[in-house]
Every structure is written in C-alpha cells, then in structure tokens.
Symmetry: C2
C-alpha cells in the first residue's frame, strides 16, 4: 500500500502538525507541505525545522491547491475550521484532523459538509507533554495507534486515503465509530488526565514534599504537564463520556476506601491482585 500527495496543507503547526510535516517529507509522501497558522512565530519555527515548505497566515492560499488538508488545531477549534475550509477547498480534497475527541467534530462535519463526506476524523494517540513545532519529530507517529473514524456517509475513497496517510507515517490504524472512540478514550485517557491533575493538586497541598516524592508520583502525574488549553477543550467536547467515566472511578475509589476503613486484609490483597491482572489485560500483556 502506498500513498503520495501533491500538496498537503497542515492547519496548526504545533507538535502534531509539525511532526506530520517532517514525516511526510522524510518519507517523500508529499511534493509540497504548506503550513497555515495564526501566529507568525510558530510558522517561522516550523519553517526553521523544515516541517513545512511554505507558511500562510491566510487560509485561502494555504489550502486552495491542497489535495490533503490536516487540521491540527485544538479540538474546540476544529468545527469552525471545517466551516472556513468548506467553501475554499477543492472538491477533490480530503480533510482530516488530529483532535482527541471525535463525536462532536464528526457530527459537525456530517451536518455541514457535502455528501459523500470527504472529511474523515483521525486521532493519532501519539504526542508528549512537550508542544510546539520546535519539538516536532519525523517518527512521532511511528508505532502508535491512530484511530480513524467513519460514518455511513463517509466517502470510502477519502476514508481509505486517511488510513493510508497514517500507515505511511508509521502508525497502526484502528477503525472505530466516533461515539465508541469518545467513550473509550474518556476512560483510558481523559479521566486519567483529570485524576493526575487532582493528584498533583492535593500532593502539593500536603506541604513541602519535594525531597521525598518517588518515581511513582512523577509517573502518575506526567500527563498533567500537558497543555491546559488542549485539556480544557477535551473536557468541553467529550463532557458526557468523561462524566460517566469519573463516576465509575469514584465508585471504585469508594470501594477501595471501604476496604481500607474496614482493615480488610484479605479483601485488600484481592483488590490489588485483581488490579494487577486488570492492568496486564488492558496493556495486552
């Protein structure tokens, strides 16, 4: 399987957009990579690391010639970008995004774009707590899962193109509908993130513990170092699934609290052993 683009436009040249540009160029998957952004400084950084060939503050010239448009803005901005792109892009262009929530975005595209839909949602599960094009790397997607969503109205050719894009930059593609995606990632990623933030907050209130925190705390709160705007948008665009996930977790914490309160040695041992098995199952070990 192979895929080759003439002009790829990346809207939002941060870590994810910049890394995609580097990956496309390193693997010679695009003749030209255009970057579109609203800050000249980010565009300049992306040009400096050669993640893009040309930079545009204006959307129209940045996407008019594109055969692939990848929206790499935070989740909450994707619907308005879809509105802006729709009248400006070629009817043959395929569009996708990289946001961590999919249902609201895909529903917006389904409601506003012509059918069959040439917008296909993507969620590459790669990244780090770093951000900005200066941290972009061509192998960011290598070996990571990218979820690609589809809908009854999706253009099969556009869907195929988006799947091939991610495979071509090294990702393993998993296909899910947008609602299932959002429910699962709420539990595996969004709720854990909120939890990490809560943990960092309460530990900081415990006083000066900087000398005696272990690697456990560092590992458990690493995700809390992520950008606050991105996580704000995730919470507002995946609200229902996150609330359900938080409630499930709160119930489980209450169960653990009861075991501790009752000094239930055997119950606690079973609880910890079961959690070990659960972790192995989740990680596929």
């Amino acid at each position: 399987m192979s895929v080759r683009f003439d002009v790829v436009s990346i809207i939002g040249v941060g870590l994810l957009g910049g890394s995609l540009g580097l990956a496309l160029k390193a693997r010679q998957l695009a003749r030209t990579v255009l970057g579109v952004g609203h800050r000249q400084s980010s565009l300049d950084s992306a040009l400096a690391v050669k993640a893009i060939d040309q930079a545009f503050l204006d959307l129209r010239p940045g996407i008019a010639e594109a055969d692939l448009i990848v929206i790499c803005t935070p989740a909450a901005l994707v619907p308005s970008k879809l509105d802006e792109i729709r009248p400006l892009c070629s009817s043959r262009a395929v569009a996708t995004d990289v946001a961590s929530t999919k249902a609201a975005i895909c529903a917006h595209a389904a409601a506003t774009w012509p059918k069959p839909l040439r917008f296909v949602g993507s969620h590459p599960m790669a990244g780090s707590e770093k951000f900005g094009p200066e941290h972009a790397q061509p192998d960011l997607y290598q070996g990571y899962v990218t979820i690609v969503t589809s809908d009854k109205d999706t253009d099969p050719e556009a869907h195929q193109t988006v799947c091939e894009l991610w495979r071509a930059v090294g990702a393993r593609v998993v296909e899910l509908d947008a609602e299932t995606h959002d429910r699962i990632v709420a539990q595996t990623s969004h709720v854990p993130h909120l939890l990490a933030a809560c943990l960092a907050e309460v530990v900081a209130r415990a006083g000066d513990v900087s000398g005696i925190v272990g690697n456990g705390f560092r590992d458990m709160t690493r995700v809390a170092a992520g950008r606050s705007e991105i996580w704000r948008d995730i919470c507002t665009t995946n609200r229902e699934a996150i609330l359900a996930g938080l409630d499930t977790l709160a119930d489980e914490l209450a169960r653990a609290r009861r075991l501790v309160a009752e000094n239930a040695g055997e119950g606690l041992e079973t609880f910890f052993r079961s959690a070990q098995q659960a972790r192995r199952k989740v990680l596929g070990e």
Copy 2:
C-alpha cells in the same frame, strides 16, 4: 563520614534486602553479611547472586553476632520480628527496617525495646515493581531518598549509625518523625497507589482496549504492578492517614467533576494550569 560493620544481618532477602547486601559488599562496608529468611529458595537465590555470605532459616544464629540488623520483611511483620530479635541480639546491636510505614512500627519498638532505643526506623524510597533477590542491584539506593525516623527515646549513636548506613550506600537521608512520615507518604505514595489500582480496574472493565491505550495509562498504573501483599500491609498499617488522603482526593475529584459538568471552560483551564504548577512544585522543578 564513613561507617564499617563487622557482621550485618539482613532479615528478609528480597529486592530491598538483597540489594542492601550487594551494596554493603560492593562498597566493602561489612566484613560479613548474613541473610535470614523463612524460605530456603529465596536464601539460595540471595547466595547465588552473592547478596549474602551465609544463609539462616533460624533467627538466633543469624543475628546473635550482628552489630547491625536490618529487617527487610513486609511492614506488617516488622513488629513481631522486633519481638523475636530483642532477646536474641547483642545489646550493642543497632536495628533498623525498610518498611514503607513507620508510626506503628516505631510505636511498637518504643513500647517494647529497652531505652535508649537502638531500633531506628528507615524507609528507603527506592525499589521497583520487580521483587525477589534475583533482581537485587548494588546501586538500588543510589540517589534515592531514605527517610530515617527518630523519637525522643532514640539512642543518638544508633540514629547516627543508621543515617550513615544509608548515606554509605548512596542514599540521601531525610529525617522525619514517624507520624509526619506516614501522613506525607500516604498522600505522595499510598493514595496514588490505590488510585492506580482503581484506574486499572475500571479501564479493564471498559472492554477490549488493549490496542488503543496510550503511554499515559501505562505510566499512571505502573505502580499497580507492585506486590499485593506489601500494599495490603501498607493499607493496614497506615490506615488513618490513607483514609484522610483518599477523602482529600475524592473532594478534589468532585471539584473537577463539577467543572466538567458545568462546561466551565475558564475554570477547567485554570484547574489544569494550577495542576501543572502544583506538579512542578512537588517535584522541586
């Protein structure tokens, strides 16, 4: 500062005890290291990796000649080991332990051992999710904090000896009273562990997610791979502080839930930004 022992007895030759034996021998801090255990197989493994020079299933010959005794059993067994050791050890011997909870153990020693106390509690904050003497390493303590507790009745010379022991194997010593220690580690280590276990459990119930969990989940639940018996003992020996820590965390989670439920964009951004600052403060960054 230097410390040199004639005979060191290590009771319980698992990861921590075995690593201490290797560290003492690698740095020539002891003429002889004796291992005491209740399973011949563990003792044989400790002998095979040269963590100990001689092995004993019987406590009396294993500690009679020791000038330093280090109890490396799980926390719940330390009080009974203190009872067994007291009539058998030399009056000049110094004893310590490596358990993750300190108040119950130190209170037991203070109530049962002669004054001035030659038992001094230790909590080396090193280790990993691996266990057993076969994973022992001479530099396990290098660069990690070891908390050393003391009490108004502690023999100053014994306290000094225990501090020097840990510094000699590469640890950074922090002195705390046992109650403060337990309150802090409940918040920085024990509650996070319970949380990791709860998270592994609820994510496993979300269905087959093995293909799509990210590094965030792996990092956040790593500690849940620890030995269930050890964590059972930690919960039963640090019950009050853990319950208080769980309640603080549950309150913070409820606050985060309200922000999500109210779709409070600005509040969520502030929440995440504050958590980032809190994490940096905790880690001393």
